[in-house]
Symmetry: C2
Subunit: 425 residues, 2 copies
């Protein structure tokens, strides 16, 4: 580490190249580590995080002191407390409890040539994670990469630099206790933002980049990265209330989808109501939303039925509010809902409320989104709720990984073929 810190000022390119080479070396060792060894490292890292509570709080206080100009929301994300420290430790233990994805035989078959062919899960290699200020991402991402046998290069927000540094030390203590290489989890050892640009060009050293953060970060990464990206764009999630909906259920699902937590990517941003039942149910649904503190914006047809709605503009259909605001439109049945969602949505998560299962199946087939729910809240869009343990994000891409990205999606596979001397005619 001393060498790296000495080089810092003079040559970010050299620091990053050295980091990449060390990650590549560690990845080769991690790829054949046993599940037991990786889990031992995760448990030891969790123990270190609990033990280093005071050092973590101290580093976090220094980060906060340096970051005085940040908004209250950003400061809230940055700030550690006892609960958050405990949650990081428990998160690592939860990841340890998952089955080891590596070495799993995904499929095995014998074609007519008599070869015994297996498709076996292997790590991707080196995963680069670029994220904003929440320090817990350091522990989550490091733990998921370790579980999936990948070396990690972590580049967190510069505001959480000192806090992340202590977390990485705890993760590395875990690696050491399990006799795994320290370089399996590394952090970019500089606050300099130029390091991000360099990281995105390191095609030989980094196999995939995972950006976690706001739209501008994701778009920058998608534009500049010379390696594959697991992208997570915003969640412009919809709830569609069909003519065959159970009204009581619709009210529950809508208000939960929007208001349980407004700042998560699975929060609903747009409510679509079947025009043919709007007269009889729209006001009751809006009653619940307004009572829960939600501002309502509506198209002309909505406002004709309920004047509490303020006018929605074209931009509202494409806005991720992440706040107590909802846009409401009337649509012509499920067909209109499908059309609206495919045109305006972000292909993240959408729900339909209906008692007609044929209508639900049509919604499932024709809406092009990662997660589609029938009679359930969009707030279930979460790797934990899906039974995957932790997630590194929810992918709105179709390539490689879509929806919640757990440890098993940070993998590839190889074909292992057992013969008895076969040659090809």
């Amino acid at each position: 580490m001393t060498t790296v810190l000495r080089a810092e000022a003079s040559d970010i390119q050299a620091i990053m190249a050295a980091l990449g080479a060390r990650a590549r070396g560690a990845a080769a060792i991690l790829a054949t580590a046993t599940g037991e060894q990786k889990d031992r490292a995760l448990h030891a890292a969790a123990a270190a995080i609990r033990r280093e509570r005071a050092r973590l709080m101290d580093a976090n206080q220094q980060d906060i002191a340096l970051a005085r100009d940040l908004s209250a929301a950003l400061l809230d994300r940055l700030k550690l407390d006892d609960n958050r420290i405990e949650a990081m430790a428990r998160g690592l233990e939860d990841v340890a409890a998952l089955p080891d994805p590596i070495g799993t035989v995904i499929a095995r078959w014998t074609p007519p040539n008599g070869l015994d062919i297996s498709r076996v899960r292997v790590p991707l290699g080196v995963v680069g994670i670029i994220y904003e200020s929440r320090p817990n991402v350091t522990a989550d991402a490091g733990g998921l990469c370790l579980k999936s046998g990948n070396a990690a290069i972590l580049r967190g927000g510069s505001e959480s630099f000192l806090t992340s540094g202590v977390i990485v030390e705890c993760l590395q203590e875990g690696l050491k206790k399990a006799k795994l290489p320290n370089e399996a989890i590394q952090r970019v050892p500089t606050r300099d933002r130029a390091a991000v640009g360099v990281m995105l060009t390191m095609r030989d050293a980094i196999d995939v980049i995972v950006p976690r953060g706001g739209r501008s970060l994701i778009e920058r990464v998608q534009a500049e990265a010379r390696m594959p990206v697991i992208g997570h764009l915003e969640g412009i999630c919809h709830v569609y209330v069909d003519r065959a909906a159970d009204l009581a259920m619709a009210r529950r699902v809508v208000v939960n989808s929007k208001m349980r937590r407004t700042g998560v990517c699975g929060a609903a941003e747009t409510l679509l109501v079947d025009r043919s039942i709007a007269g009889s149910c729209l006001q009751a649904i809006l009653d619940d939303l307004i009572a829960a503190g939600c501002a309502v914006r509506g198209d002309a047809a909505v406002r004709k039925i309920d004047s509490r709605a303020t006018p929605a503009s074209e931009a509202d259909w494409r806005t991720e509010y992440l706040d107590a605001v909802i846009a409401v439109a009337l649509v012509d049945g499920v067909e209109g809902a499908i059309e609206h969602i495919n045109r305006h949505g972000s292909h993240h998560t959408e729900a339909i409320v209906t008692e007609d299962s044929a209508t639900a199946e049509r919604f499932f087939r024709q809406v092009d989104s990662a997660i589609l729910l029938h009679n359930a809240s969009t707030q279930f869009a979460d790797g934990g709720e899906f039974g995957m343990g932790a997630e590194i994000g929810i992918s709105t891409d179709k390539f490689h990984a879509r929806g919640p990205v757990g440890a098993d999606k940070l993998t590839s596979y190889k074909y292992v073929v057992r013969g008895t001397g076969q040659v090809r005619p």
Copy 2:
């Protein structure tokens, strides 16, 4: 088509944008087409190719007349004959015979929240294929995209422009007979190479690019593409003969791996022999290779044992000859073989010959390649031999698709969640 051809000279950007918009529209329809409908289109396209034999030969003759300056090898790839036309038609029928990958439930489970979660296979959307002069790729790629519910934008070599045009007409006749949109399989309607550059920037219209061709094409695509790429780099494939090999089997596997067909990506380019048995087996193996017409280049240790080998330079370990030439090195057991392959290989296909299954398992675990074979020829690296039907290539990437890429790898998935009114606490 008339409008497009009129615009051609003035604005390739506009032609390509129109092509992309039509492909996107067709993809939405294809995504929900039934397996029966897609197979009907494939059979009708095969029939059209057989019926249009004379027009195909005629267009091919014109292409060849225009392409007089090409090398004999390129001309051979370009030229159609009765067998090749029949092979294209049969290839489409073989793809039709595969199970429909779309709509398959990959996994289904219920986490503690009681939701019934399915992971369902869906198409990627629009696939762009950029390839060189072999006209049959037009039929193969178009057929695989159709089977997997993807719209295809095909950009073949300019030398095969007229031949490809007739093949695409046959594919479109099949689409019409199955009442599927014509725009599901489109060809870039210009020879202008600038169209490739434009295609690689069309991130909104094209979901994935598949380059098929030589190293320079693949590298250009990987450098310029703003969307995901399924890349197929060269195959620097190895055969390792272990100390515990059955010599007769080793001779058969080595000569078949190298000489069955030297121009395919699964052909062996390097032979590694365990130093401890080289004295007793190397000459017999080289006898077979030389008798089959193969030139042998060896490291110093090889040439000490068999002076028929000419000197191998460092570059030989990284060369894909695609010809009757092999590079031979002695290595220190399986560990030396693994080290050599991971350092010099292209992560494509490698074989080990040994009677020691623990050694084979170690080779499987530690060599980082798409396909690993024990006691079988590297020439089995082929989607057909793997029982996948046709393949669009063999991916040396780890992301999304690795190894032979059949119709089922041109897919993504969505999560379909069935609830009973659940909201998230």
